[in-house]
Each structure stands twice: as C-alpha cells, then as structure tokens.
Symmetry: C2
Subunit: 340 residues, 2 copies
C-alpha cells in the first residue's frame, strides 16, 4: 500500500514552522513514507528552504490558497473555505492521491469537512474521535472524545465496535477488552442509553467486559473505554487539568527554599523521566473513525516532536487499513444482529 | 445554634474503629461541638472504652440495631433497614435532636434515605452532591457528583443556585463565580440542556461567568462548577485515577536504581508535602444539598483524619445554616422569574 500522507501544513497554532520540520524528520525516520505538504506554496517553499529541505519524489508541495482559522465556525469553514489547506488535504485522501491526512487545525471544522468529503462508512451512524491514553500498566484507547453529544445506545455500540477494531489493528490484540464508562451508584447506575448499549454489546462478539468507572481509565482495566463525546471530552480535559495541577504543585514544592531546590536538582533526571511519561505529546494524534478515509487530528499546540507522533499514528492506520476493517466488522455485526 | 452532630458510627469500610477516634479528636478540637454516636450500643461502648473515651454531656450513644451494607441496594436499605445506624442518624436530624449527620456509608442508600426522611427544600426538584476540590490557586466546588443523571436545564440551574449559596456561605464569598461545565467544540458546543441552563443563569442574579471546560476545574477559573451527575461523577473518578497514576509513576521512577532511590530519599520531604496537597482526605466530606437538613457523606475508606474533616464540613454548614439560605435564595429566584 502506498504510504503517502497529506499534511495540512498551515493548521495548528504554529503552522509550517512546526509541520515542515516534523515532515523532514519523519521522512528521515521512515524510508517508505511520502508526504504532501498542503498550503501556501510560497510560505511552504520558504520554510522548506530555511530548514534545508527540498521537494522531490518523497516530498511534494500542493498549493492551497486559503486557511481555516482555529476559531472559525465549522459550518463557515465548510462553506467558504473550499481551497483551504485542510479541505485540500482531505480532498487528496478522497481522490486516492494520499492514504491519510493529518491536521493540527480546528477540530470541529476538520470533522465537518472530513465527514462531508469522505462520508461515513456504510452502517456507521456517527463518526467518532478516539485517542490513546497512558495507564499504570501501559495504554488504553478512549472514544468518543467530542464528535457527538447525547449519543444513543446504538451510537455507543458502534463506537465500541469501531474502537475495538482500531485497537485490535494498531495494538495487535485479537480481542481487545471493551468497557462502557459509567458511574457506580447502584440503581441510578448510569442512564438508560448506557444500559441499553451494554445489552447490545453483550449480544455481540465484541469482548465486552462490562461497566468501568472514571478511575478505571488510567488503571488500564480495559483496552477500549467507550462513552458519549460530552463525557469523554470532559474526562480528557479534566485529566489534563489534574496533571497540570500536580506539575504546578511539584514545581512549587521543589522551589520552596534552598534545601528543596537542592533536592529538586538531584531529583531532576527522575522528574524529567516522570514528565516524559505523562507528556501528552507522546500520545498526540487522535483518529476520526467511522469515515471512508484516515484523518488524524494533532493537538493544535503540537510541537515538532508531537506532530511527528501524529504522522506515525496515521502510518500505522494506513498499514493496517483501519477503515476497511471497521467497515467489514460493523457490517458483519449488523448482519448478525439482523438475522438474530 | 446547637452544634450537635449525629454520626452514623457503623458506616464506611472501617466503621467504629475510625469513627470513634475521629469523634474523640473532634470533641477535643472543637469546644462547642456535641456528638451523638449512632449504632450498636455494645460495639460503640467497647470501642469508646478501648480509646479511653467516656460518654457525657458532649458525647452520647444512640442505639441502632441494624446496619446498611456498602453494596446494599438503596431501595432495599430504605425499605428494610429502618433501625439502621444510617437511618437513625438521619432521623435525629429530622427530629431536631441533631443539626447535621455524617455518614461514611453507602452513598446511594444515604441519598435515598435522606431524601425520604428529610424531604427536599420547597422549590428544589432534585437534591445534589457537592464537594470541594483543590485547584492551582486554592479550591473550588463541584456539583452534581452522581445524585442525578440526565439533568434537564432547570435542574442544572438549581444546582448552580445551590452551589452558589453553599460556596458563598462556607467560603465567605459574596458573589461566587459559577461556571457550567461544557465541551469546547464550536456549534456542537454542549447539548441543548447546557445551553438552556446558561440562558436561565444569565437571566438570574447568580454570578454566572459562562462555560468552563474540564481543564478549568483545577485551574480555579470559577468557584462553582456545575454539571450533570453522570458527567461530574466521571470527572471526579477520572481525576482520582490520574492522580493515582502519576503517584505510581513517581514511585516507579524514584525506585528505578540506587541513584534514583537516593534522589527520592533526599526529595522525601518535598514529595510528602506534594502528596499532602493532593491528598483527597483533605477534601473529604461531600454535602447532599437541596434537602431540609444537613447530610455529609464521607468517603467509605476514610481514616480518622479524613472523617474528622467531614465533621468539620458539617459544622461549617450548621453554623452558616446552609439549607435555610438555599431555600430562601431559590425561592426568591423562582419568584423573580415568575414575575419576570
């Protein structure tokens, strides 16, 4: 399979100044990779020259005259930004000229355009956003992270199927353990949608292990955590907030007086190792799944290191042909349910 | 106002072995406090003797022959445990013999019994669970944490009012900043319930500052974070999970080899200070608000230190007469809305 990936080179908080060096680094790291930088030709050529890079067989520029702003309304971007770097990068996937695209741009616009241009896979009612998260034991995957709010039971079921297929492919797990995010109070245990989704999953051949609670996410109890996008987005952002607070407290405690500063100096390699382990950049690259094509969303604030990680995520999904796998798994599950 | 607090002395993972010493410590600390230990008279008398405590004017025993199990269904507890330590402690509040009760028992049962015995305040549609959380700058309050799922806009509005009143009283803030927890994607920004709750709040005289996202909770952007109980419960448990993971990583990194162990040894006072700052025991004591009485829920696994904190929370709410304040504030807001 061709490993050509289109990059929305104008997207994100830093645009070409991060994406061009990330592209050059990844071409060096991955001999089979080809990249298309999509965006303002002059800007990109200048940035490339500045970084000592050249276009060629493995690196091409593709001009796009517009750019989607980070705060632009998705509907506006969809309607008025038909020659944006984001839209053109997605078009390249649609036309088969790229096998995936990566953007650090406006999440809502990226989802709206990707959905409009690429369409959902047959049977998929709602695309979802999935990401990898660290756990005490390794890592897990969680979806939906904000593409949908108020998901019904069928949507949650489909998220579980899509998450299971992606996890199986990228982690080489035959039967990933899937859990439904719920709350623990008896009787008011969850809402009807979650309970009904559990019933659907129990009847399927997904390795559904039951309800999990918020603290199970980072415990690594399951390989896939399934929830509504509102809940998933809050859980993800809350996690970032807790990590940021603990880091701030740590800094405060280690700089309190000369003795603690000394302790901090001696502990520096350990604290750096710790920071690296909880560094969200290691996990950069959320996938939009359920679409007829691979679209990876990088954090808007991604640096070169973390944008590269999003490109790696795209490569793995291309190599494993994740959309095709999701399509066929969902089709067979829906068929199975239909014939009962 | 009488500062008599009834303790469900049999509740929680550790029962009297934690609650009796916490009671004795608090009586020593707080000269105006009176406590009623509710539970098996023989067990409590024995525990009290073992701890060198005696009953008297400020500490009495009140017998209750039953106990609500931690995994008992709320409906079962409500129906069959009419002489449980939990129920009797709540009855003492109802009868005016105690001005608050504290329990480390089964949350669902405690809420069901409290609601049944004490009733909600006039105008309150749903009671909620609120707790204090640490932030980078200080602390904040968050509700609902699991008493309700699928809250409608009016419920969210009422949670905001109740949270604002409680925060104003316990933190001595005239106009606490109130935020509605939401997700950041434009256009799919939240669901209809959250948007409608925002409209209701903007029309009220609550100091509503707008939507906040998950990472704002620990940033201390607002004094009160309002959300549906499902979302709040997930956010709270997820936070505990992140903190636990980071603590586990820290331990792993500091024990990796002799040099890191040495660094850990030197950094020990700093790490201990850090641990104390993120210790959930410091924030123990969630309030059930919206009821005609004060009910404080302690963590089931609370130790003496943290159960004492829950008693302190009860004392503050008694001194500030939180239920009465909530009732009158809500009444005036609803009236104001009615006369438009």
């Amino acid at each position: 399979m061709s490993l050509t990936i289109a990059l929305d080179a104008m997207g994100g908080d830093h645009g070409p100044s991060v994406i061009v060096p990330a592209a050059l680094a990844m071409l060096q790291e991955q001999p089979r990779l080809r990249l298309i930088l999509v965006g303002d030709q002059d800007v990109l050529a200048a940035e490339l020259a500045r970084r000592g890079g050249t276009t060629g067989e493995r690196l091409t520029l593709h001009h796009a005259s517009q750019q989607v702003a980070m705060d632009e309304l998705p509907s506006q971007a969809l309607r008025y930004k038909k020659d944006s770097s984001m839209r053109v990068a997605i078009n390249l996937v649609k036309e088969g000229r790229a096998s995936a695209c990566v953007s650090a741009g406006n999440t809502g616009a990226l989802m709206a355009i990707a959905r409009f241009v690429l369409k959902t896979l047959p049977g998929v009612e709602r695309p979802a956003i999935i990401t990898t998260l660290p756990t005490i034991q390794g890592h897990t995957h969680m979806l939906d992270l904000g593409a949908n709010v108020d998901s019904c039971a069928e949507h949650l079921f489909q998220f579980a199927v899509m998450g299971s297929v992606l996890t199986s492919a990228v982690d080489n797990l035959e039967h990933p353990r899937v859990g439904l995010l719920n709350i623990g109070e008896e009787e008011i245990k969850g809402n009807e949608r979650v309970k009904e989704a559990a019933r659907l999953l129990m009847e399927s051949d997904i390795n559904y292990v039951g309800f999990v609670e918020g603290d199970d996410i980072y415990r690594g109890t399951v390989d896939v955590v399934v929830c509504d996008g509102f809940v998933g987005n809050v859980a993800l952002k809350t996690s970032e907030g807790v990590a940021r607070m603990i880091t701030a407290f740590m800094k405060q405690e280690f700089t309190r007086h000369p003795m603690t500063r000394l302790a901090g100096l001696l502990a520096r390699p350990v604290l750096r190792a710790l920071r690296d382990r909880i560094d969200p950049r290691r996990y950069n690259g959320a996938s939009f799944i359920g679409l007829q094509g691979i679209v990876i969303k990088s954090h808007g604030s991604a640096d070169t290191l973390s944008f590269s990680q999003a490109i790696r995520e795209a490569m793995v999904e291309v190599e494993k042909d994740v959309p095709q796998r999701i399509g066929s798994q969902l089709e067979s599950l829906l068929l199975e349910r239909a014939v009962g």
